[in-house]
Symmetry: C2
Subunit: 351 residues, 2 copies
DNA sequence: CTGAAAGCGCTTACAG
DNA sequence: CTGAAAGCGCTTACAG
């Protein structure tokens, strides 16, 4: 219970070897006589010895800890991302410490100090709404860092994003092919490349089809704003007949306004497409056609990229774009001849 | 950039004092001559010195890290809990490392080893579905530990829960007062005291009113199971006219079945009450009457309890119950004369 | 393959 | 108030 933890020296004494030999058995840096190694392992197990990672950190210079900085976790997407990232990094021998950052300048300072004090080996910046100041400060620290799902034009950082431009185009093309001509876009946040790219994909698709957007409005990725803008759109003389929304979270709000307040039918009166394929998107309540963020592959790419940079600090920065996929459900009209994905039913398994 | 980190010795040299003096300035263990202290701080700032917490850990025996063990983060409740807990502990000088535990025995072993290797000062076990084996192993490790929102009958651990029994009674009384007589309960998970207490509150309220439950079914806190059981209930000759559901996540599924599949009106045909006041409960789409978990106070209690145990390992274990609150929205009929809470509109602010 | 030695960057008695 | 010294539990050249 309160008894002092077993150390390598305790094991060494009990096994009749030197402490460094015990160390070698556990970090396999050098070959050890198999017989002795076996004995050490047996004694260690008996005594309940577990190497102290703090001590290892101090002289190896590696803490085997990764800091992940988030803005909030209400959006289920980031919760899942955190869980998967944590598992992926654990599997590679790292533990994950979380830091929640507001956007106030003093908070940014505090977070950066914490990351440095904690000696993390690498950092994942994982929320769209993290300030550029934070990114800059982290870069200056020299600690390897990857932006997850948060593009930035600055070429001097590694990042992993979904191919948001392509996704925006995919969604918009789908609406156009279904015969929609009056299409609006409720966009993300102009400060986040993420949303900007989706918007640009939307605009490109519209232009290619010679269509003018009914509207294209920055909603800051906020549900309430998207709901207000929807009300406004439908208060106008010529409302849209289709809306591409920059993420699912906002799209759920849009659906609510359309159905509950405006008594419109979806998709008969209005088609709606979201972005993310959040866990709730396949609930019958929403049945949302959306662009899936390939989370699993994004996480793997992030973990791999980060560990590569940790191993080789001189490594050039990389940008990895993971292509998305349109998940067809009931909230948007189908193009001539197209049938629904068979996907929606199978995804709910884990909840 | 790649340059070596500034150490206390560097600062000492530049400030013309000894290294321990620098240390004293930063950990305020002993008084230091104010003039020198000022000089040290100035030099430290100039050189960008930040004390290395890993080194401090090694000899102080405190890592200033807390491990929080979770099962999953899809449920927004835990995401928010994690965020708040992290902030609360950060404010007290601790960083938070996350560990995701499955229920397989080998996973449990791995997690416990990781927690020990990482030298966390304390542990929060924060998911209903964590195995008892994990709890036992953690307790045996002697590391201070608090169960968050996961009751257990074993008196030998500290825990913080909402008063689930009271909450269950509160919800059920409300239904009874509104005139319901055919009430069913879709329960949580018999292995989790959490759900069991809610169920017992339900049963107590029913008995006090001389009512027999139409049904009382274990749904494992799983949305899909709750949906299936709802279908089954309404396929029976005498279905319920009110359902108390053990958490909001399941209640959302119940509402979906009632409205979309069975074309029933809520609350005219059936009243529904959930539990948690999850962020989505106040969306018009759901408008769910529910028992709010007082998350903020639960988090504060958890942080305080844990730090108390860290400071005094001999401290007797405590169980803290935080009373809940019924949030009245549109999914349940109102008792004679009662009016809706004015709350639902004000909560959405942050999303 | 292996032990003695030095050292990672701090904290903390111990003298003064 | 402050410096010299020892030590936290490991890893890693260095000899052998």
């Amino acid at each position: 219970m309160g008894s002092a933890r077993v150390t390598a020296s305790d094991v060494a004494k009990a096994a009749g070897v030197s402490q460094p030999t015990v160390s070698r058995v556990f970090n396999r840096s050098t070959a050890v006589d198999p017989v002795k190694a076996e004995r050490v392992r047996a004694v260690a197990k008996e005594l309940g010895y577990i190497p102290n990672l703090v001590a290892r950190s101090l002289n190896s210079g590696n803490s085997f800890r990764i800091g992940i900085v988030l803005a909030y976790l209400k959006n289920g997407f980031f919760g899942e991302a955190l869980q998967r990232l944590s598992k992926a990094l654990n599997a590679r021998g790292y533990s994950v410490t979380v830091y929640f950052a507001g956007n106030r300048s003093d908070e940014v300072n505090a977070i950066v100090e914490d990351l440095l004090a904690d000696q993390v080996d690498g950092i994942v910046l994982a929320s769209i709404s993290l300030s550029n100041e934070l990114v800059t400060r982290v870069r200056k620290s020299g600690i390897p860092c990857v932006l997850f799902n948060r593009g930035q034009s600055d070429p001097d950082v590694s990042m992993v994003t979904a191919s948001n431009f392509e996704g925006g185009r995919l969604a918009t093309d789908f609406l156009i092919k279904a015969g929609h001509r009056r299409i609006a876009h409720l966009a993300g946040w102009r400060e986040a490349l993420n949303g900007v790219d989706r918007k640009n994909g939307f605009l490109a698709a519209m232009e290619a089809a010679n269509l003018k957007p009914v509207a294209c409005i920055d909603c800051h990725f906020r549900r309430n704003v998207a709901m207000d803008e929807t009300r406004r759109l439908f208060a106008s003389p010529k409302p849209p007949d289709a809306i591409f929304v920059a993420n699912d979270h906002m799209a759920f709000g849009v659906l609510e306004v359309l159905r509950e307040e405006l008594a419109l039918r979806v998709p008969e009166d209005v088609s709606v497409i979201g972005y993310d394929d959040a866990p709730m998107a396949n609930w019958k309540t929403f049945d949302l056609t959306t662009v899936r963020q390939p989370l699993h592959r994004m996480i793997e790419a992030t973990a791999t990229l980060l560990l590569n940079e940790i191993q080789d600090n001189e490594r050039p920065h990389e940008k990895i774009e993971i292509p998305g996929e349109l998940i067809v459900r009931g909230s948007a009209r189908l193009p001539e001849g197209q049938i629904r994905s068979a996907l929606s039913a199978s995804v709910d398994a884990q909840d």
